[in-house]
């Protein structure tokens, strides 16, 4: 993989007229260069055509399977490279490898400006598993993950956005016409704490929301939940 990445390090002008078939049939000393340029162009075009990453991104924006997003040329190339056959029906593991290598290539070609699910998710996963800036930085240096501060920024924005979208109600409670009666009940919620210094009582106020719902209301949670999908489609 590092060898392939090395191929893209050379800055050469783009030759948009080359086609994939032509590239595969090329013979001669520049065949590697031709294939590299073709793929580079495909990746850059795919990057330009890709939709902007919503900020903050959510789980629904993270489509790990890159077959629909990665350039077809790149997938064909990698399939040929990995399996040695064209249009090989790949097992799950092979498809995952191809996607992962493909995302790495896309990130390398676009110099990190194409934020893709693999790098974002790996960054977040490593951060949550190990809480180590060093590990993330090493992975980032090898081109497998976003940088550590990207993860921190994203988490901060998610927290802010959730705070903005937060409600007094919980997802169980239905809003609008399906509601019959909504009722709040408050009572003191005292906790007796005991320590070496003796006992102490912590006074709080706890509330319960009780709701009668119309029978026709099928799925109260659906209506109330944050709709990631509709956000993506701009609804």
């Amino acid at each position: 993989m590092l060898l392939i990445c090395g191929l893209f390090a050379v800055q050469i002008s783009v030759c948009p007229l080359l086609s994939l078939v032509h590239a595969y049939s090329l013979q001669g000393p520049n065949k590697c260069q031709d294939v590299a340029l073709l793929l580079r162009e495909s990746i850059r075009r795919a990057h330009q055509d890709s939709r902007d990453l919503p900020w903050p991104p959510t789980a629904d924006d993270m489509e790990l399977n890159g077959e629909n997003i990665l350039p077809a040329d790149l997938i064909s190339f990698l399939t040929m490279l990995v399996t040695g056959k064209e249009n090989e029906t790949k097992p799950e593991k092979g498809r995952r490898w191809i996607s992962a290598i493909g995302w790495d290539l896309c990130r390398a070609v676009t110099e990190g400006s194409w934020k893709n699910p693999k790098h974002i998710l790996l960054c977040m996963t490593v951060r949550h598993l190990f809480r180590s800036k060093h590990v993330t930085t090493v992975l980032n240096g090898l081109g497998h993950s976003e940088w550590c501060d990207f993860g921190l920024e994203m988490e901060t924005t998610i927290a802010k956005a959730l705070d903005q979208a937060s409600s007094r109600l919980t997802p169980q409670i239905v809003k609008g016409d399906s509601n019959i009666v909504f009722h709040c009940e408050w009572d003191n919620l005292n906790e007796t704490t005991t320590s070496v210094h003796g006992t102490n009582i912590v006074n709080s106020a706890g509330g319960i929301m009780i709701q009668e719902v119309k029978l026709v209301c099928e799925s109260p949670i659906f209506e109330h939940c944050l709709q990631w999908r509709s956000r993506m489609s701009g609804a």
């Binding site: 901060t156 007094r168 909504f182 709040c184 006074n203 106020a205 929301m209 719902v213």
Partner: protein
């Protein structure tokens, strides 16, 4: 379902902030005001619903039939369920249970007016989100005493608020008044200890009603025991016979709404209920002596608690009002 209710996570600008700055929540400033009473429109009168007594009499008849059935079936294994089970067995199950969920707790004591005001505001916000006009809140007695003056002080601000004392708090405090005050020294405590229903350690909570489930269980048991004793004397003195015991027996065998309705419609059972009620009234006036009259008043208090529980369990608003 309305489209406007769909919530989305807001899109945000990139700020390059890498940590969230959360300030410690400040405690609410104290709220002090001069208390004023409620203002009612000129000439307004408070009249209970006209059919209150009828509704109560109708439902208490069901209670008496349950009592008779328990009395008859008490030799051997009791087949008639206790009052709660009987209400469930003869009632209709709701098609859908109420949804329950929890507000975020507020870490300040509820005994402060400022906290109560904040709770009213939180209820208002939550109710507004649901698109409901009236803000219905339930508090215990102490908080009601804090919340109502706030509403009376600012009637326009809290015009949509309805404050209720919940039936739980009502019955809990009522049981407390019965067992911890009225029945204190009557031997109620001794019954519970002798019957091994309560240990002396938990007696305080039971008598005050704070250990609600235990307290209610004890109240039901003692009340039923007293009713059984009364029924025995009643049967001896009045020489009661039921012309058609089949109705009661079939209710004992299969406890459901049809059998209960049949028992309610049966004339002999109805006359027995009527006789028993008038006998209870006689006992209350001292027919069996002062001790019996005292315990009869206890039974009457228990009837009120049971009917309140019945109304809540059966969702019977008419009975609740009565």
């Amino acid at each position: 379902m309305r489209k406007s209710n769909i919530r989305t996570l807001p899109a945000m600008e990139k700020s390059h902030e890498r940590s969230l700055k959360v300030n410690t929540t400040s405690t609410l400033p104290p709220l002090t005001f001069s208390r004023i009473g409620p203002k009612f429109p000129e000439g307004s009168k408070f009249i209970p619903p006209a059919d209150t007594e009828d509704v109560f009499a109708k439902k208490i008849a069901e209670y008496y039939i349950w009592l008779f059935a328990r009395f008859v079936a008490s030799s051997g294994i009791q087949t008639v369920p206790a009052l709660g089970g009987f209400i469930s067995a003869t009632g209709t199950a709701p098609l859908r249970k109420s949804t329950l969920d929890y507000f975020t707790p507020m870490h300040q004591p509820m005994t402060e007016s400022s906290v109560v005001r904040e709770l009213l505001k939180r209820s208002e916000e939550a109710t507004a989100e649901v698109d409901q006009k009236w803000v219905i809140s339930t508090f215990d007695l102490g908080v009601c005493m804090k919340a109502l003056p706030i509403i009376w002080k600012c009637p326009e601000e809290f015009a949509q608020h309805v404050i209720m004392i919940g039936p739980f708090h009502t019955s809990m405090n009522y049981i407390g008044m019965i067992t911890n005050h009225k029945m204190r020294g009557s031997g109620y405590t001794d019954f519970l200890v002798e019957a091994q229903m309560v240990t002396s350690g938990s007696m305080k909570g039971v008598l005050k009603g704070k250990a609600y489930a235990k307290s209610l269980f004890c109240l039901k048991t003692v009340c039923e025991a007293m009713e059984r004793l009364l029924l025995e004397i009643f049967c001896e003195e009045e020489n009661v016979t039921i012309a058609d015991p089949e109705v009661l027996l079939s209710l004992i065998n299969s406890c459901n709404r049809e059998q209960l309705q049949a028992a309610l419609n049966d004339e002999s059972v109805a006359s027995m209920v009527e006789k028993y009620e008038s006998y209870e009234r006689k006992v209350l006036l001292g027919h069996l002596g002062k001790t019996a009259a005292f315990w009869m008043s206890f039974i009457n208090h228990c009837h009120l608690v049971f009917m309140l529980l019945y109304s809540v369990k059966a969702n019977d608003l008419g009975l609740f009002h009565s």
